[in-house]
């Protein structure tokens, strides 16, 4: 049954809560046991085996509407795909337009850590199959955070620890983007070993600029997927990949006016991604609107024999359809959705943020099918379960890095404690943390999502820790009090396991009647 079928219900309503809880318990146990995940057989597969059904992307414009092609880098990915498919835009021209901007402006933005040359990108484009159905992302310039393995580009993880590292294979998510015809325009600079904003390796000196404040380094691009966010916002890439263990996609996404999805744990393979936590890492998609996020998620989601966390899950549904609002008339969501509001949601210290949030909730409520259920009651023992130590993950990062720690601890710079602490956290505490994590997941699913289908939240940590899906998008502009820069503000929405369809549905209905996702920052002075 597909989305258009009568009686179709989104995936978050069809997956058994008990099944998901048992599965997450298994992930905790596998990580604690150490060798279980490592024992999974690795299978070498071709690109075609990894690529699921190509995303079916409808035309981005209604028939007869004017199509803008003056500067193709201003287009969204779905718009670019529409024009390349119709022959109105040559994919090679699209690639050249992006490379022109990268060569002219990345000296200021410092979004990329490593990137291929112009000729290499064009050659990769020319080598794609002629059949459009096999290369739906033909000509799309994408960015991958620098913790995704790439065999043709350096993978340094924003750190001296991996300086000059060139893997001999590439991450599954990168392979999937390339298999769909996408081009890797470069590797996005990132916070040191996936923490904080991007900096010069081994120092506290910032590098990547926020696309909305390129001439003032004080305004953070967000971390740790800093370069991916700047590349997409500054039109040096049309969309891209980040990773999130603790807010590292939604943080920079909101800091730069992007629409991003951090999907359910296991939805996208982490094979070939420098690990931080085996139980909390996620691949996230970073884009300019909900439909673009859906397209990229459709491409990278799905089972991977090299990552057992992705196996045994329900098939990815049609995300692109979920992110395509009903045409005409009053905007409405596809599925009736109860939206709950986080305690203190309208009590931010920045009154402009509260004003934007009130307007956002008002717009959501005016969309058909959305019911605002009011302020949420947080699950029992929320503070204990989400604060240190039970809400943390100190035991996770150490094991992978022992040899690097022995070589020279100075290479870890400001992130050293995060990687040394694992050898101090006792095994009994680690087990208790995993137990508490399962208890928290149980209560979020039963108690929090007993009140609503989507939560407007100010806290991402509990959802990252329990593997639940998140989505962010812009809701307006504000003046940063420190730098005076005009910058975007955004929101984060959370849902049940496999609630990506519902999040995309709510975001697409909102973006159908608002223009914040179409805001583009000015180029550097």
């Amino acid at each position: 049954m597909t989305i258009g079928s009568p009686g179709y219900r989104p995936q978050d309503e069809r997956v058994s809560r008990r099944w998901f809880l048992r599965r997450m318990a298994w992930v905790s146990a596998a990580a604690g046991a150490g060798g279980v995940l490592a024992g999974v057989p690795r299978q070498v597969r071709g690109r075609a085996d990894l690529l699921g059904p190509p995303p079916r992307v409808p035309d981005a414009w209604l028939a007869g509407a004017p199509r803008q092609v003056e500067d193709p880098t201003t287009l969204t990915m779905s718009e670019s795909m529409t024009l390349t498919r119709s022959g109105e835009l040559d994919p090679a021209d699209l690639v050249r337009a992006y490379v022109d901007r990268i060569e002219a402006l990345d000296g200021v933005y410092q979004a990329y850590a490593d990137r291929p040359g112009r000729d290499a990108l064009i050659a990769e484009l020319d080598a794609l199959p002629a059949d459009e159905r096999r290369s739906p992302l033909r000509g799309m310039c994408l960015v991958a955070k620098d913790n995704f393995y790439t065999s043709d580009l350096l993978t340094e993880g924003g750190s001296l620890v991996f300086e000059n590292f060139r893997p001999d294979y590439e991450a599954t998510a990168v392979t999937r983007m390339r298999a769909a015809g996408g081009l890797i325009a470069g590797k996005g600079q990132m916070g040191n070993l996936a923490g904080g904003r991007a900096r010069r390796y081994g120092t506290l000196i910032p590098t990547t600029r926020n696309a909305w404040s390129p001439d003032d380094e004080r305004y953070s691009p967000g971390g740790s997927s800093s370069g991916s966010a700047t590349a997409v916002a500054a039109r040096l890439a049309v969309a891209g990949l980040g990773t999130q263990t603790g807010g590292s996609v939604t943080g920079p996404g909101n800091a730069q006016g992007l629409t991003c999805v951090k999907p359910t744990f296991g939805r996208v393979s982490l094979y070939g991604v420098i690990p931080l936590s085996y139980t909390r890492d996620h691949v996230g998609v970073m884009a300019r609107d909900a439909r673009d996020a859906a397209i990229l998620l459709q491409v990278v989601a799905g089972p991977d024999p090299n990552d057992p966390r992705t196996l045994g899950l329900p098939d990815p549904p049609d995300y692109v359809r979920a992110a395509t609002p009903f045409p005409g008339g009053r905007p409405r969501v596809r599925w009736s959705t109860r939206v709950g509001i986080w305690p203190g949601y309208f009590a931010d210290e920045n009154e402009r943020v509260n004003e934007l949030r009130r307007a956002f909730v008002g717009q959501l409520e005016s969309n058909g099918g959305v019911e605002i259920v009011g302020e949420l009651s947080l699950p029992d023992q929320w503070e204990e379960l989400t604060a240190e130590p039970l809400g943390g993950s100190h035991g996770d990062p150490t094991a992978f890095f022992i040899e690097h720690l022995r070589r020279d601890v100075r290479n870890f710079a400001d992130r050293l404690p995060r990687f040394l602490n694992g050898m101090l956290q006792s095994a009994d505490t680690y087990v208790r943390v995993q137990q508490a994590r399962n208890l928290l997941l149980d209560r979020i699913v039963s108690q929090l999502f007993g009140q609503c289908d989507v939560a407007l939240t100010t806290a991402t940590g509990p959802f990252d820790g329990t593997g639940l899906p998140l989505m962010c998008m812009p809701i307006g502009l504000d003046d940063d009090p420190e730098t005076g820069s005009r910058v975007p503000r955004g929101v984060v929405m959370a849902a049940r396991p496999f609630g990506e369809e519902r999040l995309l549905d709510v975001a697409a209905a909102y973006q159908a009647v608002t223009g914040f996702h179409r805001m583009r920052p000015d180029d550097p002075a």
Binding site: R22, R23, A25, W26, S28, A29, A30, G32, A33, V36, V40, Q43, R45, G46, A48, D49, L50, G52, G202, L204, G302, P303, P305, P308, R309, L311, G312, E388, P389, L390, G392, H394, I402, L405, R406, V409, R410, F412, A413, D414, L416, P417, L420, N421, M423, L424, Q425, S426, D428, T429, V431, R432, V433, Q434, Q435, A436, R437, N438, L439, D442
Partner: protein, 90 residues
Amino acid sequence: MQVPTPPAPPSDEELNAYIRTRYALLGIDISVLPESDPEAPMDQARLLENARSILRQDVVAADFEIDPQHHLPVPHPAPFSAWTRPAPGS
């Protein structure tokens, strides 16, 4: 029989000695870091302070009551569930 009494909590100095010993046991040398330099990306003083807090958090975790019958991170379903569904192309 003598009734056990809770020992006094370890001091910072005792914990520092434990931490340095633990690192040394695994062959990790933190003496290459400056002892105390707030301008440096990391120094020994900050590292040890952070490590002491991690150790003391063990007490909080141990005191948290949880139902071991319902929230064990046990391997159920068995890890072999990863193989119950074929990957595409297999």
